[in-house]
Amino acid sequence: MADNIIRIENVTKQFAGGVKAVDSANFNIERGEFFSLLGPSGCGKTTLLRMIAGFEFPTDGEIYIDGQASALIPSYKRPTNMVFQSYAIFPHLNVFDNIAYGLRKDRLSRRELKRRVDEALAMIHLEGFGARRGDQLSGGQRQRVALARALIKRPKVLLLDEPLGALDKKLREEMQIELRELQKNVGITFVFVTHDQEEALSMSDRIAVMGKGVVLQIAPPKELYEAPNSVEVATFIGNINLIDATVRSVAGNEVTLDGPGFGQFRAPAIDGLKTGQKLTAAIRPEKLSLTASRPGANYVEGTIKASAYLGDRSHHHVHVKGRPTPVAVAAQNMDRSMTIGIDPSKPVYVTWDPRSLILLKS
């Protein structure tokens, strides 16, 4: 059995106004894991995180932190610490006192306190910043101080609510790497909230995708991307082409389907398929390729409606007769030729490996 530091059991949070921010969430977080809560704004990520922190209490369900039932324990008695979205640096204290804030009860000697804070300052690369006031720091520095202030408590779980959201793109990418390194070094479980799917994919061991208060899927980044379990997850993570399809026949682990514009096509079978059943077939744009000559099988014919050159790759929208939306194709620019997409009057062929198709039941 996995060593779970957090167990969320049937946790529901209904606010006074009637909003069900979190609806029967059920999952575990392993010790030492970098776990992300990912979902669009308003889907309940912060509420779930705040219930783990002890700022909100579930209307129903139980939260176990390191084996202890904690749903109703207030935040100041929990072995968790949080990095707030606004960083919440105390404006009336300097950096040293901000970082030392949570150590009051440990009754350390002055020397020991200074050693601990200096160590924390070194960890976040802000040596010598102890006397600065919180409001004399840049966004990135505030973020680091918030991190040090929480980590100096040596929590069992560190909770982070969109900690990189306020930083500019370059700094954000640097911090993603640094944060991941830091997590590996300290070995503390991180629960990381973000609405940025790339951020979640690049940093996490596992990701819980949320939508409208419901946890839709929990999986490692690769599995989430390559094997989403629902249309919501498939469309939220990356781009994907969806085909409303009908099952024609099932033969062993292969299924033949029929979809508008695509005609009959093959895909890997999933459990419990019946002839005539309606479902959604999905394929990622980078799993499709374009050719000017007609392939043998597994293709559709179309015309390029629009192309965007992005340096390393190009995005094409291919209009396929009988299909309401264009097919998105992402092609690696592997040579310097510029032939594809130049002549919109000529037909192109979109082709794929049938194993790249994902079948999603509604």
Binding site: Y76, N81, S86, L93, R133
Partner: protein, 276 residues
């Protein structure tokens, strides 16, 4: 007058009309008030121009007046108790409305703010009836109760804006770092709200100190200073003494207002507080 004109130019007012208007307005506001100190040093019992000569005898007379000193003491006492109590009530109220959501919140806030909008004379009559019905003897105690009622909305308004102004996650961060709500109040909320508490106390004190109507209705044997001054206006020979007293109050009020404003500035621009 180069300065106002240059400032006016910068503000896109080339003719300087705004500057002239502002100057006229300030004169209109402050010249009457300046009569107070001017006549308080005038060596004549009549408050008319031309001035006669310089004297400080009115100050001596005023501060030798035992009744006046008792009234001043009464006002200071009432002001001190009313401002501290109103500020505590205002802080609790402000904390409640800014930090919690509860049913009927707007109604409660409205009721607390109401004394600001009820004509004071109505408030005075109502309180007088209440006090009489309850057989509470009139005196400084009843005046103080009235002043607390009057000052609490001011205190609450000052403190609500102060509490609204700071990030609620600061208090959460403190609790997250292991401090109880009580310690959080002392380590985070109080230091951040302190400038608001000081301006609330100063404001409440000034409101209480020059309050006349409620004190008049609710007084017992001992009048407060404004009530005493009003009673003295019947005696022409006391008028210069009242002016001397008024001049002193004016100076002290000015100092208080400057302090209040200074504290408020510290509060809003945290950078100005020295690095520890």
């Amino acid at each position: 007058m180069t300065k106002p004109t240059r400032a006016a130019k910068r503000m896109g007012d080339p003719g300087g009309f705004l500057a002239i208007f502002a100057l006229a307005y300030l004169l209109f506001l402050y010249v009457p008030v300046l009569f107070l100190p001017v006549f308080s040093f005038n060596d004549s019992i009549f408050v008319t121009f031309p001035l006669k000569g310089f004297t400080t005898k009115w100050y001596e007379q005023a501060f030798a007046d035992q009744d006046m000193l008792r009234a001043l003491t009464a006002s200071l006492q009432v002001g001190a108790i009313a401002s501290v109590t109103a500020t505590i009530l205002g802080l609790l109220g402000a904390k409640a409305v800014t930090r919690y959501r509860m049913p009927g919140q707007n109604v409660v806030t409205g009721l607390i703010m109401m004394p600001l909008f009820i004509p004071e004379i109505m408030l005075g009559i109502a309180l007088l009836i209440l006090v009489n019905t309850l057989f509470i003897p009139l005196g400084l105690f009843t005046i103080t109760i009235g002043h607390i009622m009057l000052c609490t909305p001011f205190a609450m308004a000052v403190l609500t804006s102060r509490l609204d102004g700071f990030d609620k996650s600061l208090e959460e961060a403190s609790m997250d770092l292991g401090e109880s709500p009580w310690m959080t109040f002392w380590r985070v909320t109080f230091p951040l709200v302190a400038p608001g508490i000081i301006s609330s106390m100063l404001l409440s004190f000034i409101v209480s100190f020059d309050e006349f109507l409620l004190s008049f209705f609710l007084q017992g044997q001992q009048p407060t200073l404004p009530v005493y001054i009003w009673s003295q206006l019947r005696f022409p020979n006391k008028l210069p003494g009242v002016l001397a007293l008024g001049a002193v109050i004016l100076i002290v009020s000015c100092i208080l207002v400057v302090i209040a404003e200074w504290v408020r500035q510290i509060g809003t621009d945290e950078r100005k507080v020295g690095v520890a």
